[in-house]
Structure formats: C-alpha cells, structure tokens
C-alpha cells in the first residue's frame, strides 16, 4: 500500500544569478514500512527534495508543478478534515474505478464529491462522486496545501532528521522541552507527564540516559545530539521519517552503530523512511530501494540489490565506484571526471552528458525519460548499460 507518491515534482529557486532548477520533474512512490534511499553528489537536489516534501522552503523557492500525495486509509470520520483540499482518491481494488485527483468540495451523506482539476481543458470537468465504501485510500496533495494545514502534517505525518543535527537544537531550551514542544503541538491531549514518560522511553530506545532530557544541548556530545534528534523525530509516531545525511557529522564507528539502530527502530515501529546521503554505501545498508539523483533529476530508481548488481545508468555506476564499500569489499575507486552541473543553466538534453563516457549525439539534444529497464528498475538514459 503506498504511503507517499511523488509525481512530476519540480521546484526551483530564484537567486540573484538566475533560476536554480533544484528539483526537476521527479517522481517516485514509497510503500508503508518501506525505506528508500536517495543518493547523489552534493548539489544534486537531494536536500531540496527533502525540504520540498516537507514544504520547508525559503521564500525564494517555488514548487512549479507536480504532486506529493500523502496517503492514508480512508476513514469516514476524518473526511471532514479533508474538505476543500486537493486529494487523490484511490478506490478499492475490486471496484475497478480509476483513482481521481481533484478538490474535495462536498460531503453529502455517505458520499464524497470531488471536483477534478481542469488540466488545461476549457470546460471545467463535472464533479465526480464516490461513496464511502468505494474508497480505499485518500492521498492528500501536499503541494497546494495551506501552511497551517501543512503544519499538522509535519512531524505527525512526516518527520525529519536533519543534515546538521548538531545545530538543530535551540541552544536556550532544554532538549527534553524541545521534544515536548513538538508533542504538545501535535498531541495536545497527552498530558505533560505522559509525554515526558514517552520521551524517556524514546531516549532509552536511542541509547540515551533519560535524565539527559533535563540538560541543555551544549552539554551533549555530537553523537548524543544525533541520537536525541532521532528520538525527537520519533516522538510523534510519524508515518514517514526523512533522514537527511543523518550521520555525516559523526565518526565511522558511531555512524555504523546509529544506522543499525535506526534500521532496527524502523523495522520495529513499521515506519517508512527516506534516507538521503551522498554515500551510496551508507544508503545500501539501510534502504530497500535506491533512487539516484543527478542535476535535480531522478536518473535511476531500483531495488538495492538490483542497483548493485546491474546498474542501468552510467552515473549510478560511476557513483558506486567512487566510494569504498562499508562492508570492506575492495573496489577500484574511479574518480568521476568533471564538475556537477550548474543548475541555473543545465546542459541541454541529458544533464549527465558532458561527463558521460557513453554519451552520443542524442544525449546532447534530447532529455531522456524514466523507462523500465527490468522489473523493479527504472532509469533515464539513452544509452543504458543494459
């Protein structure tokens, strides 16, 4: 069952020098309990992708098009809360109806009325009606969602472990209070005592002394801060956690330990996870699926196993050979020649072509689209490796 579906998502920044095409027509989906790794060089749009998912974008950034559907099982009593939002209704499999994207305009008795998007048509399409029993899942589109509504999705629905966990603590508040703050916001019915108990449990789970919650961030070591960040990310029982370079700042031993623990917790709580890293080896440790990003585009998406065995995109191959394997398999390191693309004026056609050893004329002219190379593997390349 899908939890998150990203469709055709583009997000650009406007800077003094020009428009930065940080995320360009990216699409993927994520099942519940599944973990996805996003990998790529720095500046390829991974972090932008993560921030776009949470809509934590600076003022000069704008989502140009696309959808981010955050799916939930349909429950009639919560239908009211979705009124007026853009949703993707997924009917029961047996039903045979196609899923419908549109604005939820009315609830009449046991029926939902959805106004499909105009999609360039001159005439507004007529509203579509679904009965409650027909619906399996409702995917809330996060892209057009208002900020106040989005705030409710954050942390409760999607939480995040930041790249710079060191600095994601406000130095003037106690660590426990900062976690408590999130819980009080999203779980207002839980009392302070209960919440504190929960935090203590989470601390134990991530391997911290529960008494540390009364301490200030500057009294923590780097690893402790990271663990506390993980505890905070878990605090509201989110359905999805985005971990953006969760261990970059830590030394290798701690890194490994924390990764293992995270993987364990994820399995234990049956959460979905998106890992973001420049290190494909790290990603391979923890994720079932890997997406490779290059120049703001998703160039390959496949199961971990498949990617390692038969990478389709030349970039994926290059990326894998740039890093030593964590498990210690010695491989010859191939340096990737050239510079990452300039996202303000990216190369025409395939963005990888200036650095690609297999580039042909067509690569310079036409932009490749994602195509299925084999089951469970898609890649965008004119000259795939297989």
């Amino acid at each position: 069952m899908a939890l998150l579906e990203v469709k055709d998502l583009s997000m650009h920044y406007w800077t003094r020098k020009g428009e930065v095409k940080a995320v360009d027509e990216v699409g993927f989906s994520l099942e519940k309990g599944e973990s996805l790794g996003l990998v790529g060089e720095s500046g390829c749009g991974k972090t932008s992708m993560a921030l776009t998912l949470l809509k934590l974008l600076p003022e000069n950034a704008k989502i140009l098009k696309g959808h981010i559907f955050f799916y939930k099982e349909f429950q009639p009593q919560t239908a009211n809360a979705l009124l007026g939002e853009m949703v993707n209704l997924v009917p029961q499999k047996a039903n045979g109806r196609a899923s419908t994207l549109g604005r939820l305009t009315r609830i009449e008795g046991e029926k939902l009325l959805v106004q499909p998007a105009r999609n360039g048509a001159t005439k507004a399409p007529s509203p579509v009606s679904f009965s409650f029993s027909e619906i399996a899942q409702v995917g809330l589109d996060l892209v057009p969602l208002r900020e106040e509504r989005m705030q409710r999705v954050r942390w409760k629905g999607i939480s995040m472990i930041f790249q710079a966990a060191m600095n994601s603590w406000n130095p003037v508040y106690r660590v426990g209070d900062q976690i408590l703050e999130a819980m009080q916001t999203h779980l207002p019915k839980t009392s302070v005592q209960q919440s504190k108990k929960r935090i203590a449990e989470l601390f134990q789970m991530v391997g911290l002394d529960p008494r540390m919650m009364e301490r200030y961030p500057h009294e923590y070591s780097g690893g402790m801060k990271q663990r506390a960040v993980i505890a905070m990310a878990l605090s509201c029982d989110p359905e999805l956690i985005i971990a953006d370079e969760p261990t970059t700042a830590l030394d290798v031993i701690v890194q490994d330990k924390i990764l293992r623990e995270m993987r364990q917790i994820q399995k234990q709580l049956h959460m979905s996870m998106i890992y973001i890293s420049h290190d494909i080896a790290v990603i391979a440790e923890v994720s079932e699926k890997i997406g490779v990003m290059y120049g703001g585009k998703l160039v390959e998406l496949a199961d971990t196993q498949t990617i390692f065995e038969r990478p389709a995109h030349p970039y994926t191959k290059a990326l894998m050979s740039s890093f030593p394997n964590l498990k210690g398999e010695k491989k010859k390191l191939e340096a990737l020649p050239g510079e990452p693309p300039d996202l303000i004026s990216p190369p025409t056609g395939c963005r990888f072509h200036p650095r690609c050893p297999y580039a042909t004329e067509v690569c310079k002219e036409k932009d490749p689209v994602l195509e299925v190379r084999q089951p469970g593997q898609v890649a965008a390349c004119w000259n795939p490796l297989h």
Partner: protein
C-alpha cells in the same frame, strides 16, 4: 600604506586593484538593491550638491535677485550690501523687522536678523559634511588600527585596549561632550569644527568600534592565508596592513557611516544649547537662534516655519541619510543579512 607597496610587487597590486574594483562593482549592485540605502544615498547627494553649490548661490541670486544696480538705484547705502550668511542687516529691498516668508529673492525666506535661510543652510552643509567626515575618518582610522593590532597581538595590548574601549562605551557621549565643551570654554580654547571633529573622532574611535573591528579581525587572523603569510616570512607589520586591515575595511566603512550621523547630530545638539560659541554658523545654531529669539513654535505655531523647519529637517535628513546608507551597507558587509 607606503611600506606595503614596497613589500608587494606592482603586478600584485594591479591584481588587487582589479579585484577590488570588481568587488566594488558587485557591492554596488548589491547596494543598489537596497531601497533603504539608495534613499540615503540620494539624500546625501542632495545635501552634497547643496553644499557644493553654495558659492554659486549668492552669485546666481546676485544676478537675478540681489541686483547691486537696483540697490543703488533705490538709493540704498552701499555699506549695507546684503550678506546672506552673517547678515549685516536685512535685505534692503524687503520690509524689515520680521522673518520674511519665502519669495523669489529668498527661496526659503529670511530669518529675523535678515540673512537668507537657504544661503545659511547651503553654507553650513559643506561644514557639516566636513565635520562628519573628519570625525568619522578619525574614528575609523583609530578603530581599525587598534582593532587589528589588538586582535593580532592579543595579550596585554588586547586587554588594555578593550578595557579602554569599555570606558569609552561607558561615557554617555553627549553628556561627555557637554562637559568637554564647558572645560574647553573655560580654558579659552576656540572649539572649531576641526577640534570638535578631533574630539568626536577620539571619543568614538576608542569606543565600541574597536570592539567590533577587533572581533572581525580575530576571525580573519585565524584564516589560513594569514598563517601562510606568516610562514612565508611576512612581518607582523606587513600582515596587519596588507592582510588584516584590508579585510576589516568594509566593516570600518560601515561604521564610518554611523559615526558621521553621530558627529553631525552631536554638533547640532551642542550648538542648539549654545555650548559651541566658537562655531559661528551651523544648522544647530540656526535652530538655537530661532529658539532663543522665539520664532520657533510659539502660540502662532508653525507660522514662521521657514525659520526653524529647514535647519531641523536638514539635520534630521542628513543624519538619517548616513544612517540609511549604513543600513544598506550592512546588508552587503554582513552576509548573514543578505537575501538568499
């Protein structure tokens, strides 16, 4: 600066110059984006022109309005040829006695003693600029030098200057100036613009600016290229002047703007309270006269607006302008304030 030219080959200076110009160009384009800074700059240019064109004004008005021939034709004594600044009496072609409202002859009217308000404003403008710039320059030179030296050497030099800076931060500057002007008067010394600029420069130069510039210099001191310069055998003197100071100059320049504001304001304030008897014309003094003679806001209110409004606005606007430019520069110098 002469020493540094010796230590660097000329070609390097050309490169530096080029980089500097390029940097300036970029700074300018950043600055241009700040409407606040540009507003300030426009006001400064306006007053700058006002001051620069002062010598032309009497000549110009002499041609069209203060015509000597007319004066003679009217049979008026040449001994009272009109002095628009210090005023030997009223303009002979106007009714006497009270401040004359704006007219073609006197675009901003005259004050009660006869002189032309616009002429006084223009005459004072260049002096205010001079005072502000001199004071700010002294402040910045002292501040930059001490900041760089204290950061570079640290130790007791640092402690001494920082405690000294604490003391100067402690002095409420206007209060201190009031006291100093009283002492200076007593000693029979003429408090000219230059002396005032010197006092202001010293007062602010040893104060908070050194603290700010020192911390800026500290961040530069730990940069690798300083270490490289030291390893390459650069003398302390060379490192301070060729590496540290050029890098804290932008911030110094920013503080210079704020200090111009303070200097102009201080002069006006002291003049307004009659504490600078040796300065014979300034905007503050114009207000002092208007206030003591009673042309400022009596029960007839704003009636004689041309006597007190222009100098008051001039002080305020010029002070604001430098401050606004400072704010605009702040956005360039302080990258953390830049828009992304």
């Amino acid at each position: 600066m002469q020493v540094t030219t010796k230590t660097l080959p000329p070609s390097l200076w050309r490169v530096r110059m080029h980089l500097w110009l390029k940097g300036m160009g970029q700074s300018w384009s950043t600055f241009r984006e700040s409407p606040i800074g540009v507003t300030g700059l426009v006001i400064i240019v306006f007053f700058g022109l006002l001051g620069a064109f002062y010598p032309i004004y009497p000549w110009f008005m002499g041609k069209i309005a203060w015509d000597q021939e007319t004066i003679q034709k009217e049979g008026i004594d040449l001994n009272i040829v009109y002095n628009p600044i210090f005023g030997v009496g009223n303009d002979p072609l106007l009714i006497k006695g009270f401040p004359q409202p704006p007219s073609l002859r006197h675009p901003l009217g005259t004050n009660a003693d006869g002189p032309d308000v616009l002429a006084q404003i223009m005459y004072s403008a260049s002096r205010e600029f001079l005072l502000g710039m001199m004071a700010a320059l002294i402040t910045v030179i002292i501040g930059t030098f001490i900041g760089a030296v204290a950061a570079y050497y640290g130790g007791w030099i640092d402690t001494l200057f920082m405690r000294l800076a604490d003391v100067f931060v402690l002095f409420p500057p206007i209060a201190f100036l009031v006291v100093v002007s009283a002492l200076v008067q007593r000693a029979g010394i003429e408090m000219t613009h230059m002396l005032l600029a010197l006092i202001l420069g010293l007062l602010f130069g040893f104060g908070s600016i050194t603290i700010v510039l020192k911390s800026q210099a500290l961040t530069i001191k730990v940069k690798p290229y300083i270490e490289a310069a030291r390893v390459a055998g650069g003398s302390s003197f060379h490192i301070i002047f060729a590496h540290i100071i050029p890098n804290i100059l932008p911030l110094s320049f920013l503080y210079m703007m704020f200090n111009v504001t303070t200097a102009i304001f201080s002069e006006a304030a002291l003049s307004f309270f009659g504490l600078l008897p040796s300065i014979n014309m300034s905007w503050g003094l114009m207000l002092f006269r208007a206030h003591t003679q009673g042309w400022i806001l009596g029960h007839q209110g704003a009636f004689y607006w041309w006597v007190w409004m222009p100098p008051g606005l001039a002080v305020t606007l010029l002070c604001s302008a430098f401050y606004l430019v400072g704010r605009g520069l702040d956005e360039i110098v302080n990258p953390r304030l830049r828009k992304r």
